[in-house]
């Protein structure tokens, strides 16, 4: 055995042998090997089945997400692509009553009653 305070990059055979004896399993080596090899098929099967399960579990939310994206895209597209009125007159014509037209076309500052009546007309 070597000096316990010295650093040595080579394995210590005495300490190694003592540790090996302390850690070596006492039971049958062959029995352990047989036990592991007996799990060969099961391990490979287990490795395959969960992969399929995982893919299947991803598939269902994937379809739901794709459907939600399609609906959202449709609604967004409909909003963005809605026909725009050709002119300001056409836009004004969509709103009943003189309130809004008077407010937009007036050269003087708007009167509060006009603004109010415009809002009431829209309701």
């Amino acid at each position: 055995m070597k000096d316990s305070q010295a650093f040595d990059h080579r394995p210590d055979p005495e300490l190694g042998a003592a540790l090996r004896a302390a850690l070596d399993p006492k039971d049958d080596h062959k029995a352990f090997v047989a036990r592991v090899v007996a799990q060969y098929e099961r391990a490979l099967d287990r490795a395959t089945v969960p992969t399929v399960d995982v893919l299947a579990s991803w598939f269902r939310p994937g379809i739901a997400a794709a459907a939600a994206a399609l609906v959202a895209g449709f609604l967004l597209g409909r909003t963005v692509l809605a026909p725009v009125p050709a002119s300001i007159d056409a836009a004004m014509a969509l709103i009943d009553g003189p309130g809004l037209a008077a407010l937009v076309t007036a050269s003087d500052p708007p009167d509060a009653s006009v603004v109010f009546s415009s809002l009431v007309d829209q309701r």
């Binding site: 300490l15 540790l19 090997v33 060969y40």
Partner: protein
């Protein structure tokens, strides 16, 4: 704190180990082709080593065997990921060490096993035969006192003969840290061994 260790030259792989490595690669190729017997030979070849490494982590031999088995089967499933340009042993030991660590975490096994004071010194001195028979228990108890990474480092280095670089790969830590861990573990274990030799005289 340890002084900075100069990077030591790593001993070249022995011819026996090199030959064994080549055989391993052949066995891996056969296992990948579906040869169950080839897998059996790999298990036979590394079983003792895997069980010791797992026992260094877990302490309990039954837990260690379960972890070693988990490691072998996990390696079987991941075998296609093994890079055949590298030695098989360190790759397998990394998986086994991870399996043992995972099992320890799952079962909430404490990192430091409770120690019997009589086993680690200070207790009454038994006769020489009893001391000899207790050495293994003392070493296991002393290993249990060490941090897990230190335990694995010293076992992989002094028992299994892996290089610092290989252990660094197995444990996923820098080579300098491996040297430091081995140094600290040896200091504790060598003291214990020296005491035991003194008592045995």
């Amino acid at each position: 704190m340890l002084p900075d260790f100069p990077p030591p030259p790593q001993p070249p792989a022995s011819p026996a180990r090199k030959g064994s490595s080549d055989e391993d690669k052949g066995l891996v190729a056969k296992t990948l082709a579906g040869d169950r017997d080839a897998f059996g030979v790999l298990v036979e070849r590394y079983a003792a080593q895997a069980r010791r490494v797992a026992r260094a982590v877990l302490g309990d031999p039954d837990d260690a065997d379960d972890a070693a088995q988990d490691g072998f089967l996990s390696a079987l499933v991941k075998l296609a990921q093994y890079d055949t340009r590298r030695p098989f042993g360190p790759w397998l030991m990394r998986i086994v060490a991870n399996a043992a660590t995972d099992r320890r975490r799952r079962r909430n096994v404490r990192q430091a096993e409770p120690l019997d004071p009589a086993l680690v010194g200070g207790g009454p001195r038994p006769d020489a035969a009893a001391i000899r028979s207790e050495l293994g228990a003392r070493l296991r108890a002393a290993l249990g006192e060490l941090p897990e990474r230190r335990r694995m480092a010293v076992v992989l280095f002094d028992v299994e003969g892996y290089s610092h670089a290989e252990i660094a790969g197995i444990l996923g830590i820098p080579e300098g840290t491996v040297r430091s861990e081995v140094f600290h573990a040896r200091r504790r274990l060598r003291t214990l061994l020296a005491d035991w030799k003194e008592q045995a005289r």
